[in-house]
């Protein structure tokens, strides 16, 4: 059965690149334009992994993670942050919010797929 990934990013080109890379590796992808859109789509369908940007208008990535972790069906779903930020402070906040990993942009499709495969097969 195809595993589904929720890709949350306010940049259209980034979502396009994520979708292209993950679909090429055999995953299904649901796109969301910001944290709130991501949360709405996560409520409609439980996905296998969430990949989210941090800085987005409205609800940011950390707030999305906290909201997802508060939901019963998202307590053990892997969540990865994919962001331009790489500071130790914000990484610690991500970890505290419940993220399982931190990827700094720009991403390499092969390395991204390796990490995703490691987490959800």
């Amino acid at each position: 059965m195809t595993k589904t990934i929720l890709a949350v990013d306010d940049s259209g080109s980034l979502r396009q690149m994520l979708s292209f890379s993950l679909k090429a590796a055999g995953y299904g992808v649901i796109e969301a334009v910001d944290g709130q859109d991501g949360l709405n789509k996560a409520k409609q369908q439980t996905v296998d992994l969430v990949l989210t940007d941090q800085n987005m208008p409205g609800m940011d990535g950390l707030s999305l993670i906290r909201a997802l972790r508060a939901m019963k069906n998202y307590q053990s779903v892997p969540i990865l942050m994919l962001t331009t930020e790489s500071g130790d402070d914000i990484k610690a906040m991500g970890r505290a919010a419940g993220a399982n990993g931190w990827l700094v942009k720009p991403f390499d499709p092969a390395r991204l797929n390796e990490v995703v495969k490691k987490l959800i097969g």
């Binding site: 720009p106 390499d108 092969a110």
Partner: protein
């Protein structure tokens, strides 16, 4: 801190100097941030375009080789297993180059964040200059240095307040100096 015993013209000079100094410092801060982001954008765009050019040239070359291999297969000059292995190697090579191009294509996301930050700084600078306005000459005291001093003090406070507000909202998030793919850390 101004002394009550200072002469009015000394107080006036102090307020004018405080105002000019505030505008100069805050204007300089905003322009320095914009300058920093422009330099960063230039680095990212140059790296991205270089990466995309290299990737597309490499894809073009690999596809040429693939075509030659297919021609060889059709003319049956070599054995099929060798040709199949060659085609598989070329497929992997093309995949690597496409992956590198995907990394390069992400420059738009990072540069758009920098542009957004620059726009906020320019708007902040406009606000600072706007705070200097006195809403027309009707607000200018016609006489009396006390009123003039109070007005200058209010303008300085407004300039300071707008700069403090902006400093809290515009944070730099793009510090990449090259387009190599970023770190991955699993918690």
């Amino acid at each position: 801190m101004l002394s009550h015993e200072s002469r009015p013209d000394e107080l006036m000079n102090t307020q004018v100097m405080r105002l000019l100094s505030g505008v100069s410092v805050h204007g300089d801060q905003h322009l320095a941030e914009v300058e920093r982001d422009l330099v960063q954008m230039d680095v990212l765009l140059s790296e991205a375009i270089k990466k995309l050019c290299t990737s597309f040239m490499a894809i073009h070359h690999a596809i040429d080789l693939q075509q030659e291999t297919l021609k060889g297969m059709l003319s049956a000059e070599k054995t099929a297993p060798e040709q199949a292995a060659r085609l598989e190697a070329l497929r992997e090579e093309i995949g690597r180059h496409v992956g590198a191009a995907v990394t390069g294509l992400q420059f738009q996301d990072m540069t758009s964040q920098l542009i957004g930050r620059m726009v906020q700084h320019l708007a902040g600078l406009r606000d600072v200059f706007g705070a200097l306005g006195t809403n027309g000459s009707a607000d200018l005291p016609e006489s009396g240095s006390e009123e003039m001093l109070a007005m200058l003090s209010r303008i300085s406070d407004r300039v300071g307040a707008r700069c403090t507000e902006l400093a809290g909202t515009v944070r730099s998030t793009v510090n990449q100096r090259h387009m190599e793919s970023g770190d991955i850390e699993l918690f």
